[in-house]
């Protein structure tokens, strides 16, 4: 391990120790220490770059805002670390409520290069599974910068020996292509929650934007995940159907058009399997809507509320299915649970 380029004044140096020593010390070190060690001497640098010790981060969030690019990280050994590239400067921020001494302003010929270098290293070194990974953009006008960042990250993720593992994945996207650039590069067996938003400013605002979702639906990531949320985008029936989403435990989705037939399929899925727990369905058009509503019987309508509710008991189960239909909002929700049902409410068996 000793490269000969570093002169050690002690008879035994860390780098002359068995591999297990350095490995263990790095296991006890956080990301900042590991990256600082790279700059201590050639030996450490070569060791760290070749062994790529795990950073054990639990969350990585990339964000493009009016404040520039940022990468926010959380791990169990430190609370919060953010690197931010802004106005040709690079800033490192400590935990939000800690004193300003944790903020460093660095000057460099090319701070953007340093930012990307750090990002690249973070994404190459992270080995353990992340609970959360996100790529978001604040406003539409930063899309070009966002696209540039995604392109860079995509190239980094492609060079990894094993795909990055993340349980929850959240991404700003305007089109399917952006999602397809990133999602397939993650470990398909690990992913559990997928959330596709537009810009952060518009993350829950109803838009008329369409998301072609056919290629995403074909991914193992989509098939293996347990929760899906795409509240902003409208899905056209030629790209995705309601039953493509029945394997999720929880869904928030918006379709251009749904029919009484779709709703019957959804109802059947809720009654025959215990997978589906929550299905939040938004739509633009509801074909034969009244026909479906009639089948459900007389709704419970609380005073001053638009929400029509029905409760259905499930045979051999203490669970009850609640169907909540809010016509003015063009929303139907199916929720399975053990509801505390008022005495005067009839549960249809």
């Amino acid at each position: 391990m000793n490269t000969g380029q570093t002169i050690m004044s002690t008879p035994a140096s860390l780098l002359e120790m068995p591999d297990v020593v350095m490995k263990r010390i790095l296991n006890y070190s956080d990301i900042k220490t590991i990256f600082t060690l790279r700059r201590v001497c050639h030996g450490f640098r070569e060791y760290i770059d070749s062994k790529k010790p795990d950073l054990a981060l639990t969350s990585i969030c990339f964000h493009v805002t009016s404040n520039g690019f940022s990468c926010e990280m959380v791990s169990n050994t430190f609370n919060h670390l953010k690197i931010r590239y802004m106005d040709r400067r690079l800033i490192y921020l400590g935990p939000p409520r800690e004193p300003v001494e944790n903020e460093y302003l660095l000057k460099s010929e090319n701070p953007m290069e340093l930012f990307l270098e750090d990002v690249g290293r973070i994404l190459t070194h992270q080995k353990s599974s992340l609970s959360f990974l996100s790529f978001t953009v604040q406003y539409m006008r930063y899309i070009p910068e966002y696209t540039r960042l995604l392109e860079f990250i995509k190239n980094i993720l492609e060079t990894r020996n094993t795909p990055l593992r993340a349980v929850s994945f959240r991404m700003s996207a305007l089109e399917q292509d952006e999602v397809m650039q990133m999602l397939p590069l993650l470990d398909a067996s690990h992913i559990s929650n997928i959330q596709i938003v537009e810009t952060i400013i518009n993350s829950y605002v109803r838009t008329d934007k369409f998301l072609e979702i056919d290629r995403i639906i074909g991914l193992d990531h989509f098939k293996n995940a347990k929760a899906w949320e795409s509240p902003v985008f409208t899905i056209r029936s030629n790209f995705g159907k309601i039953d493509d989403f029945f394997h999720f435990e929880s869904v928030v989705v918006r379709f251009e058009s749904i029919s009484a037939r779709d709703l019957n399929l959804l109802k059947e899925a809720f009654f025959t399997t215990s997978t589906c727990n929550q299905f939040d369905l938004h739509y633009k058009h509801f074909t034969n809507g009244h026909q479906f509503i009639q089948i459900l019987g007389e709704p419970i309508l609380e005073e001053g509320s638009f929400v029509n509710k029905w409760y259905f008991g499930i045979p051999n189960s203490s669970d009850v299915i609640l169907i909540a239909y809010t016509e003015p909002y063009r929303q139907i929700q199916f929720i399975r649970g053990e509801w505390i049902i008022p005495d005067d409410v009839v549960v249809v068996e």
Binding site: T10, Y28, N76, Y104, S108, D118
Partner: protein, 190 residues
């Protein structure tokens, strides 16, 4: 020098003799050897825990008498500690140490490295782990230059030339040596 003031005196029945590289013999209580996986395996292989088996001195060619003395001090102190369980190393990162441990490891780097080597050779997980943890605690939150001082590393590599790592613009914290931070250090969690 705890080896000379053991809580129970070793008797031929419950001890073995180990010999350091410089030929010095140490009488070691079998109870103490349980902390060393290397010695424990050896004792079990040769059935030295039986009273009817003749025990030959065990040569420890890699360990000097000074190091053995130090190790025995550790073993004595941890005599009644529960068996070491290796937790998930990522999540057991605590940089707080018993005062005894801090004093015990308040030694020059070269001695620390030698002790680490010995702990690795004798496979004493609690000692090995503690030294690694204390070394990590000494480099955490430090700048590259401070780490060089802590680890006695001399390098002809100039950071900014070699890496292009920026110099801090804001002078407010430059006095505490935070001048070449890329991913900047903050104090370790207590």
């Amino acid at each position: 020098m705890s080896c000379e003031e053991p809580t129970t005196s070793p008797t031929p029945e419950n001890n073995i003799t180990v010999v350091s590289s410089d030929g010095k013999e140490f009488l070691l209580d079998l109870k103490l050897t349980e902390q060393s996986e290397t010695l424990a395996r050896l004792i079990s292989n040769f059935e030295y825990d039986r009273t009817d088996v003749k025990k030959d001195p065990v040569p420890l060619g890699n360990i000097t008498s000074a190091q053995m003395q130090k190790i025995i001090e550790w073993l004595q102190h941890h005599r009644y500690y529960p068996k070491w369980e290796q937790n998930d190393i990522h999540y057991s990162t605590s940089f707080t140490f018993e005062t005894w441990v801090e004093e015990y490891l308040n030694i020059p780097n070269n001695e620390m490295f030698e002790l680490l080597n010995a702990a690795n050779y004798l496979n004493i997980p609690r000692l090995f782990s503690t030294i690694c943890r204390i070394m990590a605690s000494r480099i955490t939150g430090k700048s590259a230059e401070q780490i060089r001082t802590v680890l006695n590393i001399k390098t002809d590599v100039k950071n900014d030339v070699y890496t292009g790592i920026p110099i801090q613009e804001d002078s407010s914290s430059s006095e505490d040596g935070m001048s070449e931070i890329s991913l900047s250090p903050s104090p370790p969690p207590i």
